[in-house]
């Protein structure tokens, strides 16, 4: 059955200005995505795909009024496709009213939150923590993405314990030099510091029998090593499986490549969603990705653990003339692979989630 994942940006506007925000390069225009364009886009998708995963994104998606979501969810209910919804929010604009709506409509809510260092990089810490509690009181089990920068890179274990104390799932992303991070370069992450501290943290997590949260970054790495397979787009041939609808109505391969060079179509001029794949920009992305993979297959022993990684990372690395993402991933995979071999015979004393993935193998 055909399936597609799509990010949708109802607006670029955001009520925060995080110190490393990648979106700064696109700006924070307060224009709202025309709801008729959005309806047309989803309808085009539904003609081809039985399952559609929508991630509301931005900007801050909760700056769109609740009535906007009410109208589009009503519209989607009339389509034949099965639609799954997620919302990625900074957490500041959650209210009992919108939580009720998203709960009733089976929408998963994920947050962006930097834990103990949130005040420094993001702000509104108390408000976000209160809203996390509100989500939990309403039956949600939220998780958050935490960005690692040079300020908090030495504190990952304390951050993890903090997330545990809040029963908040945790995902760790290293900060790269993009968007606002280019101006706030005192946060710039030294890749070697990240690798060293992440490995220490990983071992701490793997040995933590009291772990009460999902730490998807760690679990995914173990999966990549033992199963040589991943469901996340970063390691799983995202082309053709992911699309991004920008607030201007144009369609891109992902949220990191929302420029003319990578534009796959303009919803208002389209008759079929196939048009986003049957054009020169998509063909060029595909050809370049194949070429890059061919190079990786020849020279990298970790190819089967990452399948050449994120397309956008590869493209942006080339444009910025660096290869940080690959360097980090390769070194982390190497260390964790060794650690799995070392620890696989003593799983009974280790983190349940870690042991579960290894035992499954």
């Amino acid at each position: 059955m055909a399936q597609i994942n799509t990010l949708i940006k109802p607006t670029h506007e955001c009520n925060m200005r995080c110190k490393y925000c990648f979106h700064e390069k696109y700006g924070y225009d307060n224009k709202l995505l025309d709801i008729n364009i959005l309806k047309k886009y989803i309808k085009l998708l539904s003609k081809k795909y039985h399952y559609i995963n929508i991630v509301w994104h931005g900007g801050e998606p909760l700056l769109a009024p609740l009535s906007y979501y009410e109208e589009i969810y009503d519209f989607c209910k009339k389509l034949n496709s099965q639609i799954f919804y997620s919302l990625q929010t900074n957490g500041t604009l959650l209210t009992q009213e919108n939580i009720n709506f998203f709960k009733e409509n089976n929408t998963n809510i994920g947050l962006s939150f930097d834990g103990l260092s949130n005040d420094l990089t993001r702000s509104f810490t108390n408000k976000i923590l209160n809203n996390i509690t509100l989500l939990q009181e309403n039956g949600f089990y939220p998780g958050a993405v935490m960005v690692v920068n040079q300020y908090n890179v030495n504190n990952l274990i304390n951050e993890y314990e903090f997330f545990k104390s809040k029963k908040l799932g945790m995902k760790i992303n290293p900060m790269f030099n993009d968007g606002a991070a280019k101006e706030n370069n005192f946060f710039n992450l030294n890749p070697d510091d990240y690798i060293k501290n992440f490995i220490n943290f990983f071992k701490y997590w793997a040995n933590d029998k009291d772990c009460n949260i999902n730490v998807s970054t760690c679990e995914e790495l173990v999966n990549l090593i033992v199963n040589e397979h991943s469901g996340v787009c970063t390691f799983n041939s995202c082309l053709g499986k992911w699309l991004c609808l920008d607030s201007n109505g144009c369609i891109y391969p992902c949220d990191r490549l929302c420029t003319d060079k990578y534009r796959l179509g303009d919803t208002k001029n389209m008759f079929s969603i196939n048009e986003v794949f049957q054009n020169d920009n998509f063909l060029s992305l595909l050809e370049n990705s194949i070429k890059k993979r061919e190079e990786c297959i020849k020279k990298c022993e970790y190819y089967k653990n990452c399948y050449a990684g994120c397309n956008a990372n590869a493209i942006l690395s080339k444009e910025n003339n660096d290869n940080v993402a690959c360097y980090i991933q390769k070194n982390i995979l190497k260390e964790i692979k060794e650690y799995i071999t070392y620890s696989k015979n003593s799983l009974e004393n280790m983190n349940y989630n870690y042991a579960r993935i290894l035992n499954k193998k």
Binding site: Q3, L7, H23, S86, G110, S216, K304
Partner: protein, 67 residues
């Protein structure tokens, strides 16, 4: 419709097949995490590995969870 006719879709499909085979995937249907057995962490798929803080965290409702 016009655009589709002009484009060499056969070539595109051949390339796409190669792209998937490079990652040990053969399903041209562009399957996603819902059919990936391994994704049992109850989290949303990570659609990038960068700093954008835009990856939803833990799934909340089993009915529509990733498993």
């Amino acid at each position: 419709m016009k655009n589709e006719k002009k484009f060499n879709t056969k070539h595109l499909l051949e390339l796409y097949k190669l792209y998937l085979i490079q990652a040990n995937q053969e399903n041209l249907n562009m399957n996603n995490y819902h059919s990936n057995e391994h994704d049992n962490s109850n989290t949303h798929p990570d659609y990038h590995n960068n700093s954008h803080d835009n990856t939803p965290g833990k799934m909340i409702l089993k009915k529509y969870g990733t498993n």
